[in-house]
């Protein structure tokens, strides 16, 4: 049971990080559909860095940098050149699949060490809860810290309120004198860093090998999680754990030989995403305040 819960948590962490980053990006009014691509880049960067420097912590840094680099490409085109965000995001993912396939070709068949678990003094000795909550790796603690941080950031800090203002009405925010483009750049890059670390976590903790397209749609599920969470940070934790649970449930089902064909079990996370989106969107359409109003609209500056 304990092992099962630990696996579910580990599976949900990449989703959690990527979704949290995307939440900040979307709050600034930018819809970055390239999450899958940024995660892939993070994964390949982390894998190469650990193989080269033989220390899993450098993998986290490399993942963050690769994610930020991809986000910068996205920002140049969508924010500065004002390209369509949906198409550019798709392009980013397609680009990253090609780039990581090429860069990752020499890495196939190699193995890297996993992130070590950090035990928190005394707390980790509490039965059951101790080993689940206080015997995790660095990224697990980091992701919770990020969620707590951005919850407060968005609600109580001045910068957080400015960020939301830019996402809700960029024209007004610009008139008041806030640098809309600069703020969107930062928010998009933050999203890239989070997605990069989330992607890095896959080779660092889940499967220590590199494979082409190893993120397997997690970036897209992370995008769905933001909608599922209705842009409220803590709800991402709930969503990520549910999806982690469903993913592990279907794997357990396959291992135990449930009388359902394995392919139909493997569909569960994707079908669950559609169902979750349907349920939440039905409610959201009655409550328009939740979605950032400028989401996906390019900002042309003052004319």
């Amino acid at each position: 049971m304990e092992a099962l819960i630990l696996t579910i948590i580990a599976t949900s962490i990449p989703l959690l990080l990527a979704a949290t980053g995307e939440l900040i990006t979307e709050k600034s009014g930018v819809l970055n559909l390239g999450v899958e691509g940024m995660m892939l880049s993070g994964a390949v960067g982390a894998f190469a860095a650990v193989l080269w420097l033989e220390n899993p912590y450098y993998g986290i840094v490399a993942g963050a940098l690769c994610g930020a680099l991809m986000a910068s490409i996205f920002s140049i085109f969508t924010i500065n050149f004002m390209t369509n965000q949906v198409a550019t995001g798709l392009g980013l993912t397609i680009f990253a699949i090609g780039l990581t396939g090429l860069a990752g070709a020499p890495l196939i068949g190699k193995t890297i060490p996993s992130l070590p678990k950090i035990e928190i003094f005394l707390l980790s000795d509490i039965p059951l809860i101790g080993s689940i909550l206080f015997k995790q790796d660095f990224v697990a603690y980091l992701s919770i810290a990020i969620i707590i941080f951005i919850s407060f950031f968005l609600k109580y800090s001045k910068s957080g309120i400015i960020l939301r203002a830019v996402g809700d009405d960029h024209q007004s925010a610009h008139s008041v004198g806030y640098p809309v483009k600069k703020i969107r750049w930062y928010a998009t890059c933050f999203g890239g860093v989070c997605a990069g670390i989330g992607g890095a976590y896959i080779p660092l903790a889940l499967t220590p090998h590199w494979a082409e397209e190893m993120t397997a749609g997690r970036g897209w599920i992370a995008l769905a999680l933001v909608v599922f969470a209705s842009w409220i940070p803590w709800r991402i934790i709930v969503g990520a754990l549910i999806f982690g649970g469903i993913t592990i449930a279907q794997l357990v089902g396959q291992a135990r030989g449930w009388p359902i064909p394995s392919q139909l079990l493997s569909m569960m996370p994707y079908l669950a995403t559609i169902i979750a989106l349907t349920v939440i969107s039905g409610r959201l359409s009655k409550n328009h305040n939740v979605v950032p109003s400028s989401l996906g609209k390019p900002f042309f500056g003052s004319q």
Binding site: V86, L90, T93, L99, L102, G217, M267, I274, T278, L284
Partner: protein, 359 residues
């Protein structure tokens, strides 16, 4: 600092210059990345862009590969023009192929080629049904069609895998995940040119493209339906005032694009494979997104874009065989190309002004 100043009129010159410049930039940046990662840039360039033209049968293979891309791309054009983001064509392609395959395998002795009309129609229905799911969710419950259509790709890939390994598996296939082969009536033949013979794999499915391009051109430019799609995409407010029903347009374009992707699936399987297998598409549905944009959401443009992207795909296959470059590398070119094409779209509407002032 660069600032963008709106143009009074959309620049006609840029409409032509933008795609050409995009291709030049893409090749330049592609080569830069190849050199950086330690591949010989000249050899790569030759393999990807030139080698597909080196023999006549290879040129006909470009057309074979372009065929599904053009068919799917034309359907996606309708969606993208009206701001509906169907990115699940890959799944619609698979479901079209699968439903048509089911019909084809249900009549194992049929010989007349008229049967193809039925299988192609079935494929259209299969793809359209798969696209109907995001369509109905989008219009009734405001569910994001991007995510739903994409999730359904994964579902379709798993579903055809299940069907081919389970219910439709040929008991005589020695354990391979293959269905029985299609009856003669459901196969699309290769074209036999009198005096020349076969040209590579070139097949009669190409006729569908020959019909589709002019029909879709007329539809988009000369009919009320096409007009509504154009207005909805470029001026949603005007469409609203004119009383166009946005939901019914959304549903229509999704059904049409899903249906066309399904037809592409039928043609691909009936002409090139002849039976169902777990992998019937090779990313055609995703590549067609790039084709639609590269063709500037215009049927004639899509025809050329399909041929160009098919060339790069075949070139990448050659590069994989001769240089060991993984063939996903085409994504690299497609991604960069899309970035620059979209930038070109901005430059049509805005001109660049260099200024010293920092803002």
């Amino acid at each position: 600092m660069i600032t963008f100043i709106p143009r009074d009129k959309v620049s006609k010159n840029w409409i032509i210059i933008a795609p050409i410049l995009s291709i030049v930039f893409t090749i330049f940046f592609g080569l830069l990345i190849f050199t950086f990662l330690g591949y010989n840039p000249i050899e790569t360039l030759y393999q990807i862009f030139i080698s597909p033209f080196s023999r006549i049968d290879r040129i006909s293979d470009i057309l074979v590969k372009a065929c599904p891309l053009i068919i799917i791309g034309t359907g996606l054009m309708l969606c993208f023009k009206s701001n509906v983001w169907n990115i699940g064509a890959e799944g619609q392609f698979i479901m079209g192929a699968l439903l048509a395959g089911f019909i084809a395998l249900s009549f194992p002795n049929i010989e007349t080629k008229f049967f193809l009309i039925i299988t192609i129609f079935t494929g259209f229905v299969g793809g359209a049904l798969w696209a109907f799911i995001p369509a109905i969710l989008k219009t009734k419950l405001n569910v994001n069609e991007i995510l739903v259509s994409l999730m359904l790709v994964y579902v379709a890939i798993l579903f055809i895998d299940f069907v081919v390994r389970g219910p439709l598996r040929d008991p005589m296939s020695f354990g391979f995940p293959l269905s029985k082969t299609y009856p003669e009536g459901a196969l699309i033949n290769k074209i036999h040119f009198p005096g020349v013979g076969f040209l590579g794999q070139l097949h009669y499915g190409i006729l569908f493209v020959v019909l589709l391009i002019p029909i879709s051109w007329v539809f988009i430019n000369k009919t009320l339906g096409g007009f509504k799609i154009n207005v909805l995409g470029s001026a949603p407010q005007a469409a609203k005032f004119a009383g166009f029903k946005q939901n019914s347009i959304t549903i229509t374009v999704l059904l049409l694009s899903g249906g066309l992707a399904g037809v592409a699936g039928v043609i691909e399987v009936s002409a090139n494979i002849g039976q169902l297998q777990p992998e019937v598409s090779f990313g055609y549905g995703f590549t067609a997104i790039i084709v639609a944009f590269l063709g500037r959401l215009n049927p004639v443009g899509i025809l050329f874009a399909g041929i160009m992207i098919a060339t790069v795909k075949l070139g990448a296959d050659n590069a994989q065989i001769s240089m060991g470059i993984p063939k996903v590398v085409t994504g690299l070119f497609e991604g960069i190309l899309l970035f620059f094409l979209l930038t070109g779209e901005t430059l049509q509407k805005y001109r660049i002004k260099w200024s010293e002032v920092k803002y």
